[in-house]
Symmetry: C2
């Protein structure tokens, strides 16, 4: 009988592992358990669908369970794994919230992802997170009625949600406990350009405004938030104050949870001490290439890649996950936002002696139609003159420049070498000296 690879979690990491394993071993029995109704969906696309930048929510499903089955992966939706027995090599699975079955496995990939964390204030944990397609569909039906929405948390997701609601004609208040938007990803000096963009879309942004309570009406639905000492009535409340790795299932099975709160794995996505057991995606620690420490960053890019590594290694391969810089991008409120490596505050918190500069330039030649502002912030280590991080905010075409910074950081370039780079210029796509090079010049001057 063929060996069996079981996968817990049917999204990016889990199904990437399944696909790689299928490709490499046609004989292997591969089963994937997904508790929700959809596999392989684009969670990153949810706010854009809610904002009706496209009509069909089905487009968010990159590959359905049926499509996976056509390719020889036994993908099962509505299957929630509730216990892992690593000695007996079997899973306890609740099917459709009702009957319980036991499923054996020989090899296992844990890809349980992350879950929303509500602030510890009354009523906040009663608000359903909109992190999955089905939850988004329920939210969508509600916001169709219009009204006033309060979004709690001004990170990527919170601002994207706020923009979506504006697009749908809602009045939107965005509250954030930190004194700036995107405190988890951007430094304050560049984050203010994101806040300006959000305000220009008509979003009432209130930073330094901690949530105190979410009040619910007789129908059980949120009817107001209390924040910063004020009660704000609202037809709709979304809490987007962050996520944490979903590790309780694995922890109960005896797996090690690191200081980041995520599962400990080696560079091959192997779970130390448990032969044939792998973990990948939002639920695991990854090596940060600059800090040389484990971090837990939830990004689809990392999840897909780690899933690949797990799938290859679960079928006899020897692939290594190379670590992360936390490179991320989003388009929010007509501004693009991106970051890679360390922020200035992060670098200082890590005890590094850095210089930081932030310049304003234009996305295209100044005279060219469609040219808009772009802000580039660079963080450079003083002693080594190495580029450690970059943040970009700007209009269309601005943010993917972060990939140039990510490549330079990955290869450990000094800022001096970076400034020498031969990058592309044409009036419709860039000024003669690309904004990232202008920022590098400013950084060199700041160091000298």
């Amino acid at each position: 009988m063929a060996e069996r690879l079981a996968i817990i979690g049917g999204d990016a990491a889990g199904m990437s592992a399944a696909s790689q394993a299928r490709r490499r071993d046609p004989e292997l029995d591969i089963v994937a358990f997904e508790r929700g109704p959809y596999t392989s969906y684009s969670a990153c696309g949810i706010p854009y669908w809610l904002g009706r930048e496209f009509e069909d929510a089905g487009r968010l499903i990159v590959r359905s369970a049926e499509k996976h089955r056509e390719r020889g992966i036994d993908a099962r939706i509505g299957h929630e794994v509730v216990a892992i027995d690593l000695d007996a090599r079997r899973l306890t699975v609740v099917v459709d919230g009702a009957r319980e079955v036991v499923e054996p496995f020989d090899r296992l990939v844990i890809a349980t992802g992350a879950e929303a964390v509500a602030p510890p204030v009354p009523g906040a944990d009663l608000v359903e997170p909109a992190r999955t397609v089905d939850a988004a569909q329920r939210l969508d039906a509600r916001i169709a009625r219009g009204g006033h929405a309060v979004v709690v948390g001004a990170g990527y997701i919170g601002i994207e949600m706020a923009e979506a609601f504006v697009n749908r004609g809602l009045r939107v208040t965005l509250i954030e406990a930190a004194p700036q938007v995107m405190a988890g990803t951007l430094d304050a000096d560049i984050a203010r350009h994101v806040q300006e963009g959000a305000e220009a879309e008509g979003i009432d942004v209130r930073v330094g405004t901690p949530l105190e309570e979410v009040q619910h009406g007789a129908d059980g639905r949120p009817c107001a938030v209390v924040a910063g000492g004020e009660r704000i009535p609202a037809e709709h409340v979304v809490v987007a104050t962050g996520v944490k790795p979903s590790v309780s299932l694995a922890r109960e099975a005896g797996l090690e949870v690191g200081a980041t709160g995520a599962l400990v794995v080696d560079e091959g996505q192997r779970v130390p001490g448990f032969d044939g057991v792998y973990a990948a995606g939002d639920c695991v620690e990854s090596l940060h290439r600059i800090l040389r420490q484990p971090v837990n960053i939830q990004l689809g890019t990392h999840a897909n890649r780690q899933g690949r590594v797990a799938g290859v290694n679960a079928t006899g391969g020897a692939l290594a996950f190379p670590g992360v810089l936390g490179t991320a991008v989003s388009r929010i409120c007509a501004r693009e936002v991106a970051r890679t490596g360390l922020g200035e505050r992060e670098a200082r918190d890590a005890g590094l002696d850095v210089a930081a500069v932030c310049i304003e330039a234009t996305t295209r030649a100044r005279y060219f139609p469609g040219s808009g502002p772009i802000w580039v912030k660079l963080v450079v280590e003083r002693a080594t003159r190495r580029l450690l991080g970059g943040q970009i905010v700007g209009t269309e075409g601005a943010a993917k420049r972060v990939d140039v910074l990510a490549t330079a950081i990955w290869t450990e370039m000094t800022i001096d070498d970076f400034e020498d780079l031969d990058l592309a210029y044409a009036p419709p796509v860039a000024p003669v000296f690309d904004p990232v090079l202008q920022a590098a010049g400013a950084a060199v001057r700041a160091l000298d």
Copy 2:
């Protein structure tokens, strides 16, 4: 009395040198001679102005002679240097095409640029090139009358001009002697996507069609071209079959011209054998960082940077120009086009054993509005697995990804390391695995 720095040529390289020198030495007497009516103009923007993507030709002037004078640079338009006496340290200058004056100098920057080369067929050299703002203004007045235009040469400029004419309502035929468009910059397999884009705009593209003659009417204006055995009547003819470095003035003064036809300089833009003499921009040779040989590539980015180096070194500095990859980008006919490093044909011509792949992907998540096709070609050296070159064609947002390739080539990354890069993803700006990473994966498979 203050020493005098003279500059021949008032565009990117020359005026960058002047600006750097001004900044570094407030006492220096700096004079710049420009034979045309404008300094510091964006030649790259001319086709877009002709196509009326913006109305005001004045926007092409980045900095006028007057503005330069306000900053302490004695910029003189209508001043053509006709002889350089390096022993006596003086220039012979014809002012406004009339009187001749002699101008002394202590230090000299030669930035004479490049000039159009017409094919050696009857009548071709009688067509005025549209390489300067004033020539473009004359062409602009003529095309306002409508009619049929024939553009000779399907390089960047030729296609950009053809697109401009279509935008202005002209009927356009684009003829090219080579069997593909953009033969000087792209390999044939990826260039065909540029040709498709041009044809989709309504341009009649005829490759493998060498020019045989340009016929002129009684008024002295072109009235037809003969090409590929056919006579094509035309109200307007543009010849854009390439340029060569303008070196005759320097050659007559005794400067060395290299095998590329451009002036020989060292890495500090110094002219060997002549103390205090520098050259920069389209008229000089540059070190190609992969070939480790001098090349002559006309790009505004290189010219600006070399001008800076010349200006710094002419004022006692010690800056080095780091060499080039020939990174270039353009937006033509709703497609963006870019290249860096070596093409497949170039690499093979240089005797390198390479593998090349070309993949098709999408600029954004497949489901996201505005997502369009992108083709990425990579050239990798087999023995070292180093990335040597990349070419990109695609819809909006596609081409600046070439900067990631340029950075990787600059830092001598292997394709294996490149595939590991942590690049940014969000549905509005990229698929989960960026097209350049998808291409890298294909290249790794091609090598293995």
